[in-house]
């Protein structure tokens, strides 16, 4: 490549969405070879700070819709953010089996993302509060920067079980017996928005539409997200 001048499209994506977004962008670039999409995988808090301070992103995908709302308030994104899909919280227990309460009771450490800023962490915390009395889990929780770190801990065995995203489970091809879907946990909305200076960016507009189109929605589903429609 390089023969024809490609238009660059900078986008920023929540790191938990890396796998499906990579797949969707590959399709997009095949379909629209004039565009070269570069993706920064950034946690939502950083993403907000960066956009506020002049980041050149044309399109944002966040696992925290209300962070995007904040940007919308400041008129840094064009329109109200739109839902792209829903993530799903699961409990990963590769070495033990049983019901969730028993697993937590048996574990020394339960990994989850930091509830103060990571949506999967918030969801996990909410779930725990609803289902169990604090003394059953409070001393066992180990927090990660995000849901990926929660997964690392279970992966290396430092924590026996952990609250992770269904998309990660699919990504890692975890057998069904090793995780439990948490029906009562809320779904985690993933939102998409065009930034204020994406106006003249045709590529960004195209990608935005592509993301919301059926094909992409199917890809998201394949990666463990619930579709919006």
């Amino acid at each position: 490549y390089g023969a024809t001048a490609q238009e660059k499209v900078h986008i920023a994506v929540a790191s938990s969405l890396r796998a499906p977004v990579d797949a969707i962008i590959a399709e997009f670039e095949q379909q629209f070879p004039n565009y070269d999409v570069t993706v920064a995988y950034v946690a939502s808090g950083k993403l907000v700070a960066q956009v506020v301070h002049g980041a050149p992103y044309a399109l944002l995908i966040s696992a925290e819709p209300h962070y995007l709302e904040a940007l919308y308030q400041r008129q840094l994104i064009q329109a109200k953010p739109v839902l792209l899909g829903f993530g799903e919280l699961v409990l990963w227990h590769p070495r033990q089996h049983g019901d969730v309460a028993a697993l937590i009771a048996a574990a020394d450490h339960v990994a989850l993302a930091q509830p103060s800023h990571a949506p999967y962490g918030q969801a996990a915390m909410g779930y725990l509060r609803e289902q169990l009395a604090a003394e059953h889990y409070a001393s066992k929780l180990v927090y990660g920067e995000n849901v990926a770190q929660a997964a690392h801990r279970v992966h290396v065995g430092a924590a026996e079980i952990g609250f992770v995203a269904l998309s990660q489970i699919i990504e890692m091809q975890v057998p069904q017996s090793d995780y439990t879907r948490l029906a009562s946990a809320p779904l985690l909305p993933q939102a998409i928005a065009l930034t204020a200076h994406a106006g003249q960016h045709r590529g960004a507009q195209l990608l935005y539409d592509f993301m919301l189109a059926d094909g992409s929605q199917q890809t998201l589903v394949a990666y463990g997200y619930a579709a919006t429609k």
């Binding site: 907000v48 904040a70 450490h109 800023h117 770190q149 801990r153 065995g157 430092a158």
Partner: protein, 221 residues
Amino acid sequence: MLQPSDYQAISLTLQLAAVTTAILLVLATPLAWWLAFTGSRWRGWVQAIVAMPLVLPPTVLGFYLLLALGPNGFIGATLESLGGRHLAFSFTGIVIGSVIYSLPFAVQPLTEAFRAMGKRPLLVAESLGATRWQALRTIALPLCRGGFVVAATLVFAHTLGEFGVILMIGGSIPGETQVLSVLIYDHTEALNYSAAHALSLGLIAVAVVVLAVVYGRRQPQ
């Protein structure tokens, strides 16, 4: 303005930094000594390996340390087989992580300080009846004071600010492994800027004053 959890984090952070600095000075001194004076052809390699913790991103280093220290890891498994507990998510674990991560900041300035001093003063001290250990304590330590100050302040300051390794190994458990840097990070991620600013400012103010006192006491040439 600060909450109890902040105070807990501050005290934990200072403990961690102090313990790490103390351990590193003890570990790094003989290692730096060997590096400064050995004629071994492995010297270059050892020195390079000591610098390794620097080239990996802290979270990645933390990942590998977690692997080693966790129950399935080499160190963790050994400990457990001996009836102990693995080291992930414990204060001991984050101390080990900090020690490994800051190793080069302690070893390298000390190595240079020893090299600059040379062996001569110690031999003279020994000829005056000092044991090797006394010579080290009464002569090498004060003569290499500059190197020790640099090593200690770099390690201390770096441990105050480090969070990638600690977060990974420690799991941010309040009162056990949730240090100030992790807390500040969490505040900024949660867009809770005023809390982040307050803690950062406090950290900086304390550090500036401590370091200015440490540095200010040294005489100029």
